[in-house]
Structures are given as C-alpha cells and as structure tokens.
Symmetry: C2
Subunit: 226 residues, 2 copies
C-alpha cells in the first residue's frame, strides 16, 4: 500500500509481475491474476459491489476454483492483502535517520497522489470497515510493513543517532500517521512539505526521548524491565 | 466524532437532545430524528446498506419529506455530519498546553473505546470512502473541529508556553493522528498510554520549532510573509 508494492499491485497487467516473491508456477500466477482482479473490482465498485463473478470474469479463473480456494469475497480480499505483504519491499537506506524517514514519508505521498495506486490502497483500507477478515488482513499487512521499517531505527541506533532502548514501531508509525490521518480521516490534501513536517516532528520527539520507554530495539532484558 | 458531540449523536434517543444548538422547533426535531436514524442505519448496515426507507421507518419522518429535503442517501449522510458539526463542543481548557492536549487525546480514546460512539464515528469515516458528498462533509466537520481546537494553542501562546507564529492546526492534528492512524489504518488498539505518547511527541515537536513556520496563530502580516 506504500511505494513499490502498491505500484506492483495496481500496475501489473501480467499475472507473473516482477517483484512477486514466488514468480514461478501456475498457482502463483493464478493467485496474482485473482489479486489483480480483486483490486480492479474494489477500485471500480468498492467492497460492497465486489462479486466472485466479477473476479472470475476479470482473472480468467473459473468461479468453481475461486469458491474452492478463496471461499467468498472476504477470502479474496484478505488474500489480496496477504499477497501484497509478500513482496520484496525494503525501507529506504540513505545513510541517515532523517534521510530514511524522509524517503519513507515521500513514498507515502508519491503512492497516494498517484490515482491508480491511491485507488487500490484506499479500497483496501475501505474494505476493512466492512469486513472483519479484511481488517485482520490489513492489520497483519501493516504490522509486517512497520516491522520492516524498524530496520531504519536499528541502523540509526547503530550509527549513534538515537539512544536505545526505544520504541521503534511507534517512531516509524509517527511519520506516516499525520499523512494517513489527512488522507482518510480529515480528508485534506498531503504534499512533500507536510511529509517533511511529519519527519521533523518524529525526529524532534525521538531526540526528546518520547519513544524511549519502548522495548523493541536495543533493549536488554534489564532495560526493558526498568 | 470526538467526545461529547459523538456521544450526543449516538446516545440521544430524544430528537431534541441537550447540546443541540437549535433546541426548539419542529424542523430541528425532525432533523435530529433523521440524523439519529441515519447513524443507526450506518452503524447497523454501513453506507452501502443504508436506504431512505430505513431512515423513514426509524425516524418516523415520511419518505416523501425525506426525498424532498435530503434528496437521497448521500444527502442524508452529509446532513448528519453537518448537524454533528453544529454542536456546542469546545476543546478542553485545563490551564496548561500539556493538560489540554492530554484531555483532547483522552477524549479520542474514550470515544472510540465506547462501542456505541465508535460505531457511529467509524460509520461516518467509512461512508466517506463511498460517497464524495460524505467525504466533503467529513472534511468540513474536521476542519471546523480543529479550528475550535486552535484555541488550545492560542491560550498556550498567550501564557508564553509556545512562541508564535506557529501552525496551530498542524500541532493539534498531530495529537489525534497517531490514534486515528491505529484505529482505522493499521487497525491496532489504542489506549491512554499511546495517547500520552502522542501528546509528548506533539509537545516535543512544538518546542523544537517544528510547527514554527505556520501562519495561523500569532502571525503578524510581516511574520507570515517571512
């Protein structure tokens, strides 16, 4: 839903698009084709309008197969999100904490100001309001995404830019939060200036020790217990 | 959608509930009854399942009247949000910036951990994904809400806690953002500890001058131009 993974999802007309973790095999191709059809349907009609028939028609996969493997629309949407989480995306590595966070924030802006990518990302977030299984899949997707992003904080600690232990998950989420908040809650435009402000705020908070009571990065058992 | 206004919306069985700005009059009572029915319908079925028939049945207002005054489901949802924005809610005034922001953040946590309030707030946010008019109404609702919240920053500047000029809107939004981000995007639980962390981050950023380039509070024409 951010950067390349979302772009892969929305842009790949080919079922076996580059960047798919399991590029070979008929099963992987089928799954990717179904994922593309699900995203197209969500973008066009939203969750309430998505049907197994639509997915069959747009993926070329027989309805019987869809029902057998994915069971229903909820299963189809959840698997599209699972597949999005299986890409090879890694967080930016620019050599500095500020550079990494800035690149990360700019990726969000770039993704969500590209109508095609924004539509599929937004459709997934919307589906979570209507399906508990989609919400669960979205939760898993972002949990995994932000776990990857913790590498940014680990490198910053290793470089001596931040003192450990600290709550790396909260720090990386604090960069994205003001952007998603405006996109999907207050419905305001976002841009790079706002992204930079979010980064500056996250850095100021991190340097002031706001995320210092965490236990995710650099915590020894003793430090975590204190 | 935060604190008392949401509570009024969700909790008022009486059409002329206290806190409604225009308590008297048949028109105001009708509008509030319709609003309550819209929220009940959104909570029960979501935007895709809401019908004018449902609202007629649950508000006691004739379908012909609903079509004449609100035109369609989009009009009904947009007006429910407009009405939510016409309440008498004011931001907390505890005597300190930290106290005010903390009370504000705790209001979000309290609202969205109360299932009845959370359901109607969440239904409005969800509706905005499916209706451009609902999105527009949500945008207006939050714009107005956060304009009221700027009083917190104005008082802090008057007390000398913060230096003007600064972007008051960005500062108050930065307190809510991490909470709404977890509620509706990453689908993670929120609590008072997280709220306090959001406040501490916002304060650290404000004190570090992150919101200093704004032009909303305390800006003289010269300062705003610089």
């Amino acid at each position: 839903m951010t950067g390349e993974s979302a772009r892969d999802k929305a842009g790949s007309a080919e079922p076996s698009a580059p960047g798919t973790r399991r590029p070979g095999g008929r099963t992987a191709r089928t799954r990717a084709a179904v994922r593309d059809a699900v995203l197209a349907g969500l973008t066009e009609y939203g969750y309430p309008g998505l049907t197994v028939e639509y997915v069959a028609e747009h993926s070329g996969v027989h309805k019987t197969t869809l029902y057998r493997r994915w069971k229903d629309v909820e299963g189809l949407v959840a698997d599209a999100l699972d597949l999005a989480g299986e890409d090879s995306w890694t967080p930016p590595d620019t050599g500095s904490l500020e550079g990494d966070l800035r690149a990360l924030a700019h990726e969000v802006v770039t993704s969500f100001t590209d109508p095609a990518v924004a539509a599929s990302g937004s459709a997934m977030i919307a589906a979570a309001f209507q399906s508990e299984r989609a919400a669960e899949a979205l939760r898993a997707y972002y949990a995994e995404r932000f776990t990857r992003c913790e590498a940014i904080v680990e490198r910053a600690v290793a470089r001596g830019e931040l003192a450990a232990p600290l709550d790396a998950g909260a720090l990386v989420r604090s960069v994205s939060a003001p952007l998603f908040f405006r996109l999907f809650i207050t419905r305001e435009p976002i841009d790079r200036t706002l992204a930079d402000q979010a980064v500056a705020a996250a850095l100021a908070a991190a340097r002031a020790g706001v995320f210092a009571d965490g236990d995710t990065v650099g915590a020894t058992p003793d430090a975590a217990a204190s």
